[in-house]
């Protein structure tokens, strides 16, 4: 048995066994073992993959399913596997259901398969598998949200299927290598028309856009992320949404040349990439605004997740080597910090049973380790050095500026500001401030969940202090020095960032502050009031606090825009479809034998009109 296949199917088989042998502890142990195998195999392959790619193929039902482990796919697979283990540890604490294990691990295999497939049939198969697994996780908890997710996903998947069909009809191939060669050739020959190329591009845009949660296809994300086991959401938002990102990367690899010649250039930017960059920018801004306005932790992180994936799309859309490096780095950092957030959320919900900011507060003393983990995630997301989130965002800024995309860069800045606004709220409202009396006997998160968090926190720190580890890998991946420097120092054409120096200075500064705090500060007793009030009394009818309606003024300012909602638009569309379905059924299958006979006559008439009878 090939090791690559072992790694691919280990989670699936483990999930199935866990479902079958539904005993406490055994179930969890099997699940964790199954989820750990992929990272082990990937680690084993590290040295091989940097020199040559590993391939394997299976013949299934007349199709040849190819798998390849290249530097690019290794990178994505590693990210998914790290998040996958963390999910498994988290689920050992939060989920007591064999159903959850089965479908969570099915989607794990699905994600790995998407990354490893080297042909469209396997890609589509695992894409569907991953969607199906994650859908079943939501279906159990909320039918409406799950169907919203599934319908959008399946529309995406079927768009992809049509696009694959068109590519197959044009090139006669389904494996990536041949398709890539054929399309590159076609970029010069031009036998696939501009319209068809645009059609294929749009279809893929829908597919990957849905998975990545790009506006306006993001509406499934808040519901699906929050109506779920939060440990699984760590994987869902951290790894599964990256499949959409990977799809866009794949689109570049397979069709880049063709898209360039067919769709041309606008203002020195590739048109197809420019579209992607703007989709990313809009996603960042819209989702970040919506995240700020949420009152529920899960919804907040759901929108935040959508917004952060927007950064990645934006980076890919910039289309330069630096843009790619930034985007790929952000794939890693988003996966590790957002999954960490979700595990922290899982711990909060597990221990308090509450999800809204107004019901929480002052948990830092009760759950100190979880709080530390949450703090690391906050720093990383807000882009504060020396965390991984800073390094990747910094690369994205550099890329946008050096590619002369000021408006897009503006979106990044705005998004960062908003991200700061919402994480501050999370930090304060959950961990500090007054603790509601019913949370007095909250305990620290259970051990497996903590292990899961630590697994995610370590890379946040390591890749934050030594971002050169990641960019060095990219340099080898691209076969070119995109980002210079060493392990600790990043050098781009426009700037330099020395993570180690920043870390040292930061630690130095914090030590001084700590010394001052310990030796210099006098303890003062002050009443607990919200900082927001600045000492002024606040009237009841306009009661804002960090924990409730904190950003209401912002919501009022945005009132005009918030009137329009994609969500409501889709709901209306769904209702129209259902009404149409009724109309069609009642009109056609009306139960009247006479009208049925008329149908026969009409068909005969058509046959006659068509020139024969």
């Amino acid at each position: 048995m090939n090791l690559l296949m072992v790694m691919l199917f280990a989670p699936l088989i483990a999930g199935f066994l866990a479902w079958l042998l539904d005993f406490k502890v055994i179930r969890e142990v099997i699940g964790i073992i199954g989820a750990s195998i992929p990272i082990g195999v990937l680690a084993y392959y590290y040295s091989t993959v940097t020199s040559e790619s590993i391939t394997y193929s299976l013949t299934v039902g007349g199709f040849t399913l190819g798998f390849h482990l290249t530097m690019l796919t290794w990178y994505f697979a590693v990210i998914a596997s790290i998040v996958g283990i963390a999910m498994a540890f988290g689920m050992a604490s939060t989920s007591k259901s064999s159903y959850d294990w089965l479908f969570a691990l099915i989607s794990f295999t699905g994600v790995l398969g998407v990354f490893l497939s080297s042909d469209f049939v396997g890609f589509f198969l695992f894409w569907e598998l991953m969607t199906f697994g994650s859908f079943m996780m939501v279906l159990k908890r909320n039918r409406h949200e799950s169907l919203k997710y599934f319908v959008l996903s399946i529309i995406g998947a079927y768009s992809m299927l049509v696009a694959i069909g068109i590519i197959y009809a044009k090139t006669g191939a389904l494996d990536f290598n041949t398709v890539q060669k054929a399309l590159r050739l076609d970029a010069m020959v031009g036998s696939i028309s501009r319209g068809e190329t645009a059609l294929i591009y749009t279809l893929f845009l829908i597919t990957f856009g849905v998975k990545a949660g790009a506006v306006p296809l993001h509406v499934w994300a808040p519901g699906a992320y929050s109506e779920n086991d939060q440990s699984y959401t760590a994987f869902f938002s951290g790894a599964l949404s990256k499949a959409g990102v990977y799809g866009f990367v794949l689109l570049y690899i397979l069709m880049g040349a063709k898209l360039y010649t067919a769709l041309g250039v606008f203002n020195n930017h590739l048109v197809f990439a420019y579209i992607l960059a703007w989709i990313g920018a809009i996603t960042v801004v819209v989702a970040s605004f919506l995240a700020v306005l949420q009152e529920d932790i899960r919804k907040l992180f759901a929108y935040s997740s959508v917004g952060q994936v927007g950064y990645i799309l934006l980076g890919l859309g910039i289309g330069t080597g630096l843009g790619f490096a930034g985007a790929l780095f952000h794939v890693l950092s988003h996966a590790i910090f957002k999954s960490l957030f979700w595990l922290v959320t899982a711990a909060i919900i597990l221990r308090t049973g509450k999800t809204r900011f107004e019901d929480l507060g002052g948990l830092a003393e009760k759950m100190p380790i979880t709080f530390t983990m949450g703090l690391i995630a906050v720093l990383s997301l807000a882009g504060i050095p020396p965390m991984a989130g800073f390094a990747s965002k910094w690369l994205l800024y550099e890329a946008a500026i050096s590619a002369h995309m000021p408006l897009v860069a503006g979106a990044i800045f705005l998004g960062s500001g908003l991200a700061f606004a919402y994480v501050v709220r999370f930090l304060y409202a959950v961990w500090f401030g007054q603790r509601p009396s019913d949370l007095d006997d909250v305990k620290e998160a259970p051990l497996p969940l903590l292990i899961g968090m630590v697994i995610l926190a370590i890379p946040n720190l390591v890749f934050g202090i030594a971002p050169g580890l990641v960019t060095g890998y990219f340099n080898r991946l691209f076969g070119d020095t995109i980002v210079g420097g060493n392990y600790f120092r990043l050098v781009t054409p426009t700037g330099t960032y020395n993570a180690l120096l920043v870390t040292v200075i930061l630690i130095f500064g914090l030590s001084i502050a700590g010394l001052i705090y310990i030796y210099g500060a006098k303890t003062r007793k002050i009443p607990v009031i919200n900082t927001y009030q600045s000492g002024n009394p606040v009237t009841e009818e306009y009661n804002l606090s960090m924990r409730k309606n904190f950003y209401r003024p912002l919501a009022e300012a945005l009132g005009f825009w918030l009137k329009y909602s994609w969500d409501r638009f889709y709901e209306r569309l769904a209702n129209l479809t259902e009404d149409f379905a009724d109309w069609l059924r009642e009109g056609f299958y009306n139960g009247n034998a006479q009208s049925y006979s008329w149908y026969l006559t009409i068909v005969l008439l058509i046959l006659a009109l068509w020139g024969v009878l």
């Binding site: 007349g62 199906f132 799950s146 049509v162 069909g165 009809a169 379905a581 059924r585 026969l600």
Partner: protein, 495 residues
Amino acid sequence: MNVQYASLLIAIPLITAFFVPLMKGLGEKAIKTYVLIITAIQAGIATWVFEEVYTTGKPIIVMAGGWRPPVGIDLYIGPFAALFVLIVALVSFLMAVFNFRAVKVEPIDKYAMLFLLLMLGATGMIATGDIFNLFVFMEITAITAYALTAYNKTGEAAEASLKYMVLGGIGSSFFLIGVALIYGATGTLNMAQIAQLAGNINPTVAQVALALVIFGLAVEAELFPLNAWAPDAYQAAPHPVTAMFSAFVVKAGIYALARILYLMSAVGTWKNILHLLIAMATLTVIVAEFSALRQRNVKRMIAYSSVSQVGLIGLAFALGTQAGVDAGVFQMINHAIIKVLLFLGVGYVAVQLGGAEIENFRGLGKRMPLTALGVTVGSMSAVGIPLFNIFWSKLRIILATVDAGYAWAAALVLGASVVEAVYYFRLVHAIWFTGEGERLRESAPLVAIMLLLIAIIVAIGIYPNYAWSLSQKAGNDIFNVAQYIKNVPLMGVGA
């Protein structure tokens, strides 16, 4: 063993069906056991024929009365027929088991006779090599199907049966006119010889004849808009019969349609017929899927789903390419399996809980977990989830459709499949995540059947190679008309 024994496939059900009235006095159990034994024997013979055809790779040509075609009527049991005769026999056998639970209405002896004749009719339609003989078997199938639809003796059943009869009657009369035109133009009723001579027929006559034959068969094959009878009939018929309708009666119709279509592929205006069929098949899928969306009765919902899936098969056959036909055959196999599972599960629930309304399915996961599992696996497979069998055939059909240049048809069909996913997953949600209830005892034989079908579904889903190679051989049997002509030992007449 002499391959001519394959004629037992027709002879045994026919003879035994006429012996049923003699057993009337022995009681309900005895008659049902009798049917079970007959179907088991039929399945045995079909297995032997299947083995024979697939090991030698040569079709079995049964010559009735020793007359060589085209003078005598022949049965042509090629790879397709061998495969589907086996499926017909196996499904009948499984449904004969289900009869013990599901059919309580008297007169059982009439039911048993009609049951065997329905199996006979479908077997004959698939196996025959003579176009008029095809008409005869089609009438046997249709008339037994009308009677079985009305068997439950309710008002709805009578109404459904009447509708079916009116539409089926009109369809088969036009089919007969088409056959007459073909006979007039070629002077033969043997399918191989018709294929041989098809190129020489006056194009207008050929087109009219083909159009009429297609029109007639489209009623049986449930193509839009000639399928209006189907949902009523499926809902009203006894549960085992519904499963048989969906698993092989409609398949026999669509097979006949495809067979004649490809036999006549030498006709000059053949492509036009294909366009018409593609439009009809695409509309079949769309209308049926949308109709199922808000259906409260699960049996009727699955009936609509069956109609739409058959439309998908029709689409595959209408593409006029080898890839399309192979994919269509593959979908026929898979669809037969899942619809037997679904109608068995739903029928069993209806028997146990007194109706197939969606309300009875709430909490089914707690009340009848294994039946619920069966319905769930069937639903997921129908939606086209990977690891289940339909995924592969649907993928094949879509790729073949786009490859043949009908990307619009593929897009429309897929759009309708989104609707399918919605109603099936609403059902799954109702089964597992709503409602409460005490666990009921489930019948062991039925559970065993369901588990067997689930195992087959997953096996094909994970390892489709064997089923796919069967489909390819069977598809080639339909598509490769030249080989078909060569296989039938015509006496050298005509050509």
